[in-house]
């Protein structure tokens, strides 16, 4: 390990981002080089920690931070396989995406702002996963949300982008509110934010009967609310597809590889550190695990169905991201070591292939200047590197062996069978079939379909090396990460988990079934065009279904109704209660006083006789009072 890696891996980008605008003052190239270099530097520190945590070793370092009347709050880092894995994903994949940005964003305005927030984000994300307490976690949690908001709204003059930024911030804030309530309750009960101290205090007070199980479940559900918002799960999933208004590298880094995984990370962290299986048997927290598993599985399925009908090159992959995040959560909710390992493994693989798919989509958009896949097609020849790397990413996502996605998805299915929750198993299986279909549809429409008439492909050429090299690096990762780690059994070994399982026959059959049925449908509908989608849409039922899916089950429309209604109601309140009620009442009182005073005005006659008479009367009354007080006091 390089010295102070657990701290420097996130402090370097956090402190370094401040100087990004200064370096841009020296020149565009200098600024870009500095930003990329600083993230690579941070990734060296992150990667150097891998040997130290290999085999599940972990340790904590902390320093005093905030004085409160309850004592000092410590700031600290927790170094263990999970945090190091996430830190490496954030910094290492982040570094390649930064490099890609140099090409992709070359002609944009406002680059200092872009690079500032990218570097700031990478620092924030790494800090989030390295934190050893909930307060620090929450701070970084919001930092990455802020960067996400600023980067989604990068093209701030575009109304859709400005709107999408707000939508993302507010939607995730709703989840964060729940999470903060949970964190504050924990702090109030135990006086600490630290994960392991909370664990000790929790298990102690459970034994003593100070904390009831329903309360603990409630706190965990509140925390999980934060994960639902950040990882775009039902019912807070609506922000992620709109977030695609941001530049593509942002989608790849924040909305595919890292930030949206924060919710998965939080859930995995809770299970690993705060409510470990040994001290809190899954049977005890059965209800909470059920919530996690079902929200994940249901989201996975519904997001996949919406991915089938979208026509925007990035939105399809965005729905895919929501769906895959759902799979990871479902796997965590199975409450088994196998499920936990499968989920973590899928985090790694998904980060590689999904970042790859986004960068490939960016490369395509860069070349053709549109985002509608109906206007693309036949790009395979013009863009061979983009095509072949996309294919690797797509096959990895679809779960075709020997690409990475196959192995982790296999583990997830295995875990769901082991846990024996049939609905979750079925949802995962159907999701996987749908995944196969929508991502090959994507490949087909973009690269292989007969080219559309709108443009000639003569002008279209492959992207520059600064963009294709990151594609190739990520493609190599997406192609081989799964098989290498699986064959050498090094992933469980790295985590320090001893899995004694052998892939069951049912799992094998399920995987084969997924691939075969997916391939059959894709051939029938797209490649063979035996029943093309238009035929399906022409029937009454197909038309209805398509309409519902394209309108995203009307969930977005429903939310807009609520928000608009609230604002409308606020307007009514302002008119009737604030201006018409309270403020008017004030003026009524003022007018009333004025009227009352006017009555007394008649006394001010200006006649000196009356005035002097009044004066004498007043003095007489005062003397009377004085005498009464004097003698009353004496007696």
């Amino acid at each position: 390990m390089l010295p102070y890696s657990p701290w420097l891996s996130w402090i370097i980008p956090l402190a370094g981002c401040v100087f990004v605008p200064l370096f841009f003052k020296l020149g565009k190239r200098v600024g870009e080089a500095y930003s990329v270099a600083i993230v690579f530097l941070s990734s060296f520190f992150a990667l150097s920690m891998i040997p130290d945590v290999w085999g599940g070793r972990s340790w904590v370092e902390s320093i005093p931070w905030i004085p409160t009347p309850k004592g000092f709050i410590q700031a600290g880092v927790l170094v263990d396989p999970l945090s190091v894995l996430m830190a490496c994903i954030a910094t290492f994949i982040g570094a390649w995406i930064m490099l890609y940005s140099v090409g992709y964003m070359a002609h944009e305005e406002g680059l200092p702002r872009y690079y500032f927030f990218m570097v700031f984000f990478i620092g924030g994300m790494t800090g989030l996963v390295m934190a050893d307490n909930f307060l620090q976690l929450y701070i970084f949690w919001e930092i990455v949300g802020l960067c996400s908001y600023a980067l989604i709204g990068f093209y701030y003059r575009k109304p859709e982008a400005a709107h999408a930024g707000i939508k993302a911030f507010i939607t995730t804030r709703i989840g964060d509110v729940l999470m903060l309530i949970g964190i504050v309750i924990l702090y109030s009960m135990f006086g600490t934010f630290n994960y392991s101290e909370v664990t000790h205090a929790l298990s102690h007070s459970l034994r003593e009967g100070l904390v009831s199980l329903p309360l603990l479940t409630l706190i965990l559900v509140l925390m999980f609310g934060g994960a639902i918002g950040k990882s775009a799960q039902i019912p807070l999933h609506v922000w992620l597809p709109d977030a695609m208004e941001g530049p593509t590298p942002v989608s790849a880094l924040i909305h595919a590889a890292t930030m949206v995984k924060a919710g998965i990370y939080l859930t995995a962290r809770l299970i690993l550190t705060v409510i470990p299986f040994e001290e809190f048997p899954p049977a005890m927290l059965h209800q909470w695990y059920q919530v996690v598993a079902y929200i994940g599985a249901v989201t996975a399925f519904f997001a996949a169905t919406m991915g089938l009908v979208m026509t925007d090159i990035k939105r399809i992959i965005a729905y895919s991201t929501i769906s895959q995040l759902g799979l990871m959560l479902a796997s965590l909710g199975l409450a088994s070591e196998l499920g936990w390992t499968a989920s973590t493994f899928h985090i790694l693989n998904h980060s590689l292939f999904k970042a790859l798919l986004f960068l490939a989509a960016g490369s395509v958009m860069h070349a053709v200047g549109t985002t509608n896949i109906d206007e693309m097609g036949g790009l395979a020849k013009a863009m061979p590197i983009t095509f072949s790397t996309s294919l690797v990413g797509a096959l990895a996502l679809a779960g075709v062996p020997p690409f990475s996605g196959f192995f982790s998805k296999d583990l997830i299915i295995e875990a769901s069978l082991e846990a024996g929750i049939l609905p979750v198993y079925l949802l995962i299986t159907f999701t996987s079939i749908l995944t196969f279909i929508y991502i090959l549809r994507w490949v087909y429409k973009v690269f292989l379909a007969p080219s559309s008439h709108n443009h000639s492909h003569k002008h279209i050429h492959e992207s520059p090396p600064v963009m294709t090299i990151p594609l190739i690096v990520l493609a190599i990762g997406a192609a081989f990460s799964g098989i290498i780690l699986e064959v050498t059994h090094s992933f469980p070994e790295y985590l320090g988990i001893h899995l004694h399982h052998s892939t069951s026959l049912t799992t094998l059959l399920t995987s084969a079934g997924i691939i075969l049925s997916g391939a059959a449908i894709v051939y029938l509908v797209y490649f063979g065009r035996i029943t093309p989608p238009e035929v399906f849409r022409s029937s009454g039922f197909g038309y209805m279904l398509h309409k519902i899916l394209v309108n995203r089950y009307y969930v977005d429309a429903f939310y807009y109704r609520i928000v608009d209604g609230f604002v409308w109601f606020s307007g009514i309140l302002r008119k009737s209660a604030e201006d018409g009620g309270i403020d008017r009442f004030n003026y009524l009182v003022a007018d009333g006083v004025k009227g009352a005073v006017n009555i007394f005005r008649n006394i001010q006659t200006g006649s000196s006789n009356i005035n002097v008479g009044g004066l004498i009367l007043g003095v007489a009354i005062l003397i009377l009072i004085f005498l009464t007080l004097l003698y009353g006091g004496l007696s």
Binding site: T68, I170, L180, V184, Y187, E578
Partner: protein, 486 residues
């Protein structure tokens, strides 16, 4: 507690009041010389307050006393301890920054010399409230703060300044009278107005309950707690911007000081009876202010309603009556003061550069005004409780206090309300800085350095107080454990 005697406090306090006429004369003949003098004069209290930082940090009290009206046993006493220090720092710093900001923002206004003189007197009034050692003196400064601000609103304000100024005066004066009544009652019962003696003499009497209600009314009107709030949106939105900075950023916090010093410091055993109704008022204020801010179309009115909402948070923290909640409330006084001051300065830039404050007529300014855009985003997010900014650092303490006090449902509402806060601020930022510009922006540029320099200092504070707040929070923690004796 040990006491450090000094004569510097009266200099810090009276230099602005005494030199105000001189500044009026000098500024009338030479603006440049007058401005320099004003800035130096307004910097003096800041330097003196900063000078005592270490003393207060180490738990000592800075004290100064002169004989005054011996017949009533009144002394002219000033002190700076850990309870008044955060307020004194806020007042002197914001007073200084508002003075600098005014030299540019107000330069073309009529009666500029008189404006400057009144501004300095206003600063004196606010500082006096938190330094006074007896309630009589406190009341005098309370009024000294009201009178100059009335003229500042009524003569340099926008819209219908006379009526709005009058409304402001009547409201806060009515509150002040309630407070005065309470103070006199205290004197009748205990024969002294020295806070330090009262804390010893105070006995368990039924009258204390009514006195604390009277004093709470005085504080609540100043803090614009629902339903005494309607003067605030008018006054804060229509006052000249540097005065809005002081009204919203600083003046309304003197109400919080009154609660800390008198209600929590002296009547701590009366508070548990009153705290649930006050908590409910605080909650209504924060939700009502937020909902009203959501439907405003004027930048400064959004900010003004936001102040009502945020004062609700401060009040909520204070009346949780838990150590961490009170500490959070006091800390939020600072964080809200800096952030709201910053936001009003941003709105001032819009008025100065574009002469426009209507949300529907602004837009697309981000690239033309990078400093203002950054400032507004940071200030807004800080108030919305977004880490790592200052507002979050105090808000989680307030929430933590709420849960500690067993007010889980109330606290959940307060936390949920931060989503509304984020909503109206992001809506405002989108309307001002995002979207397509509605003006010809080719000649639009950011504000001059005289205006952006104070803003930069506040940006720094808004950011740094979020995570490196050790010195400030130590002083606040000391105040909570030693002065309020929680």
């Amino acid at each position: 507690m040990e006491v450090v005697n000094t004569t510097l406090l009266s200099i810090a306090l009276f230099i602005q009041l005494i030199l105000a006429p001189l500044i009026y004369l000098v500024t009338s003949s030479s603006k440049k010389l007058g401005d320099t003098l004003s800035i130096i004069v307004s910097a003096t209290p800041l330097i003196i307050v900063a000078y005592f930082f270490n003393t207060v940090y180490n738990g000592l009290i800075v004290y100064e006393e002169h004989p005054w009206i011996p017949v009533f046993g009144l002394k002219l006493g000033f002190q700076l301890d850990s309870a008044s220090y955060p307020f004194a720092l806020l007042i002197s710093l914001m007073g200084f920054l508002a003075t600098i900001y005014s030299t540019k923002y107000m330069e073309h206004e009529h009666g500029y010399p008189a404006y400057m003189a009144l501004l300095l007197m206003f600063n004196t009034g606010m500082l006096g409230v938190v330094l006074a050692t007896n309630l009589f003196l406190l009341y005098i400064f309370w009024e000294l703060m009201l009178i100059p601000s009335y003229f500042l609103i009524a003569y340099w304000g926008t819209g219908r300044p006379r009526i709005i100024g009058f409304k402001y005066f009547v409201f806060t004066h009515a509150g002040a009278l309630a407070m005065l009544f309470g103070i006199i009652w205290l004197y009748v019962l205990y024969g002294t107005l020295e806070i330090s003696q009262l804390s010893i003499l105070l006995t368990d009497r039924a009258e204390n309950f009514y006195i604390s209600i009277l004093i709470f009314i005085g504080a609540a009107v100043k803090m614009a707690v629902f339903p005494f709030h309607t003067w605030l949106p008018d006054a804060h939105a229509e006052a000249p911007t540097p005065i809005s900075v002081l009204l919203s950023g600083v003046m309304i916090k003197t109400g919080a000081y009154l609660i800390i010093r008198i209600l929590l410091g002296l009547f701590s055993w009366v508070m548990p009876i009153m705290n649930i109704p006050i908590i409910i008022l605080a909650l209504i204020s924060m939700v009502w202010g937020g909902v009203m801010a959501l439907v405003q179309t004027d930048v400064k009115r959004v900010l003004a309603y936001s102040s009502i909402s945020q004062v609700g948070y401060i009040l909520f923290g204070l009346v949780t009556l838990t150590p961490i909640g009170i500490a959070g409330g006091v800390f939020h006084v600072l964080n809200h003061g800096f952030a709201k001051g910053l936001l009003f300065m941003c709105s001032g830039v819009l008025i100065y550069v574009l002469n426009e404050r209507d949300l529907s007529k602004l837009g697309g300014l981000a690239s033309r005004m990078p400093v203002t855009a950054t400032a507004m985003l940071l200030g807004a997010l800080s108030i919305a409780g977004t880490p790592p900014l200052g507002g979050f650092a105090s808000e989680w303490m307030i929430f933590s206090g709420g849960i500690d006090a067993g007010l889980t449902i109330y606290t959940a509402i307060a936390i949920a309300n931060t989503a509304i806060t984020a909503g109206y601020y992001l809506r405002m930022i989108r309307a001002v800085f995002f979207l397509q510009p509605k003006h010809d922006l080719s000649k639009v540029h950011d504000a001059p350095l005289t205006m952006t320099a104070p803003m930069s200092i506040l940006i720094f504070l808004v950011v740094i107080l979020g995570f490196l707040n050790y010195p400030v929070t130590s002083i606040i923690t000391h105040a909570v454990t030693h002065i309020i004796k929680m």
